[in-house]
């Protein structure tokens, strides 16, 4: 099985967020970018399938600026066999539809049976890319999936927790799957593999090539205008009471009438 994992570098979870000087986006100065947690789950799923289906290969692909290289190396250290960086326009782009078009265009020359991605990335949380790539390629897609297993000679079975319950699905290949985080315990790359990943080749598709392939679709239609941090909270309104019943009654009243969060 040819498994392609779509990955994205996101800021380390402990990053102190701040807006860029123009106020339009996250200030990435000094920020370390790592493989997104959801993407780690996707790589883990790819590796589990590869271990299950002899002859499988895992190919990690990332669209974005040069920092994609680090996320791709992290995927290689975990066990991906190949990596391709698809360059974003120099002015940057965070339009998920444009990302999907660039990825789909690169996939015209990369073999795939299964596309895997995180349910959404830990930064912008759009969760659009996997479905959009699938639509462009004309293959089925499923989001928030857990536990993908081979089924039959050329199919897959998986679970999908939804608001209604847990669905069990079977699908033929090729297809695209967005994975839920943390359902599998992603492995940690071993030190020798990390060292090896530093020397692994990363294929590059440069932006002019991508732009040419996309033609009139190469300009973004979703642009970040403002990045804002919430105002710090001023501290709790403390509830005075004599009895637990009084505390409960006052709290419920505040939640209903003031915070309006409680029906």
């Amino acid at each position: 099985m040819e498994i392609v994992v779509l990955i994205k570098p996101v800021p380390e979870s402990e990053t102190r967020l701040r807006a860029s000087p123009d106020g339009r986006r996250l200030d990435s100065e000094g920020v370390r970018f790592v493989l997104a947690g959801y993407d780690e789950s996707a790589v883990e799923q790819a590796l589990l399938l590869k271990e299950n289906v002899p002859g499988s290969k895992v190919h990690a692909i990332s669209f974005g600026p040069a920092r994609c290289g680090e996320a791709l190396r992290a995927a290689i250290a975990l066990g991906a066999d190949a990596a391709t960086w698809i360059e974003a326009p120099p002015e940057g782009s965070d339009d998920p539809i444009l990302a999907a078009r660039a990825l789909a265009s690169a996939l015209s020359s990369i073999p795939y049976d299964l596309l895997l991605g995180g349910k959404h990335a830990g930064d912008d949380e759009e969760g659009i890319v996997v479905g959009a790539v699938a639509e462009l390629l004309g293959i089925p897609s499923f989001g928030s999936v857990t536990d993908v297993r081979p089924a039959g000679p050329s199919g897959l079975a998986f679970q999908r927790p939804t608001e209604a319950g847990i669905e069990s699905w079977e699908t033929s290949l090729p297809c695209a799957i967005g994975l839920q985080q943390a359902w599998n315990d992603p492995r940690t790359a071993k030190l020798p593999n990390i060292l090896r990943s530093r020397k692994a080749p990363i294929a590059k598709v440069d932006w002019p090539t991508v732009a040419k392939a996309l033609g009139s679709e190469s300009s973004p239609r979703s642009l970040s205008e403002e990045f804002r941090l919430p105002a710090p909270r001023s501290g709790a309104k403390m509830i005075e009471f004599q009895t637990p019943e009084e505390a409960a009654e006052k709290l419920v009243r505040l939640l209903r009438e003031e915070a309006k969060v409680f029906p």
Binding site: E125, E126, A134, S141, T162, S222, A236, F241, L251, R256
Partner: protein, 329 residues
């Protein structure tokens, strides 16, 4: 301007999903007095009748067997309804299915897309501005979407559900043969319905009740669970609780656990170590119940009660049952 806003409605039998009702409210305000709201759903006549009560001008329906409902199929049908209704904006409820659909529909219909949206406005014809939380709610971004078409998935619980207005709009039935073009042999084999009483999942819940070391013993944790049940809330826990083995680590909220941002987060007996705070600080309203008035949790909370959780929580559960008209069980 008179935009036509298409709501991609989720129905189950005659029931209209809560997020769809939220989407109707948003659709009405975007359409304004001059525009119109239309809807499309996968379902039968009963779904269309329920949807009609929310007042769309026209309804498109397609009856697809549940085991064949994929995002690919819905994208085809929704794009068809969007074409026929000449919609400019498609609104999707904030469900996992809605999120899956957004990217596919945007590509199929040639639209810009955004998900998790908490505010949306039409800036001028063909240009929208949306606001959405990012980084687990630690920040928000405003994005400009270039139309004329846009698919927008709303964040769950971010908007009130629209009240029913009634109406008898024309109902168009979409031809299921549209789906013959879709590739792939995906089939839903089974659905294990969510256990009644197990409550919503931690990640999706509108309300989370989380307990910490202040519950003092594993057996007291059922007080947290009873409070959660009375609220229809998910149960969370601090690391102290999961490390002690009182509850499984899947319930852990915080740096090494889950990040949640519900409408209401009730932290009971949780002091509020930074590792916990990063997992819940973006919740809209935070209630803290703790014996220590100096506990850092009170700094991020909106409402605080200094007191013993073992006394306060049962009283709170009783009060909530009372106001919600629930019987003591």
């Amino acid at each position: 301007m008179t935009p036509t806003v298409l709501v991609i409605a989720e129905t189950s039998g005659a029931a209209v999903a809560g997020p769809t009702q939220e989407a109707f409210g948003v659709a009405r305000s975007l359409a304004g007095a001059d525009g119109s709201v239309v809807a499309v759903t996968i379902g039968g006549p009963s779904a269309a009748r329920s949807l009609a009560l929310l007042g769309p001008k026209e309804i498109w329906v397609a009856d697809v067997p549940p085991e064949s409902i994929t995002s690919g199929a819905v994208a085809i049908l929704a794009a068809q309804a969007a074409e026929e209704s000449r919609a400019e904006i498609a609104l999707v409820g904030g469900t996992s299915f809605g999120r899956d659909l957004t990217g596919r529909l945007a590509v199929r219909w040639g639209a810009a897309a955004a998900t998790g949206v908490t505010e949306v406005a039409i800036v001028r014809p063909g240009a929208l501005r949306v606001r959405r939380p990012v980084f687990g709610g630690r920040a928000t971004e405003t994005r400009a979407l270039t139309g004329p078409r846009a698919v927008i998935a709303l964040r769950p619980h971010a908007f009130p559900e629209a009240p029913a207005t009634g109406g008898a709009p024309p109902i168009h039935v979409l031809d299921p043969s549209l789906l013959s073009a879709s590739k792939g042999g995906a089939r839903r084999r089974s659905l294990a319905p969510a256990e009644t009483g197990s409550g919503p999942s931690l990640a999706d819940a509108a309300i989370v009740v989380a307990g910490g070391r202040g519950m003092r013993a594993a057996e007291n944790f059922r007080l947290i669970e009873e409070l959660a049940r009375s609220l229809g809330a998910a149960v969370g826990a601090s690391r102290a609780v999961t490390d002690a083995g009182w509850r499984p680590s899947s319930l852990q909220v915080g740096q090494t656990g889950r990040t949640v941002s519900p409408q209401l987060y009730i932290a009971v007996g949780i002091s509020g170590a930074i590792q916990h705070l990063v997992g819940m600080v973006s919740s809209r309203t935070i209630v803290a119940i703790n014996t220590d008035p100096g506990a850092p949790i009170f700094k991020v909370a909106d409402y605080g009660i200094v007191g013993d959780a073992l006394a306060i929580v049962p009283a709170l559960t009783r009060e909530i049952r009372r106001v919600r008209g629930l019987s003591e069980t």
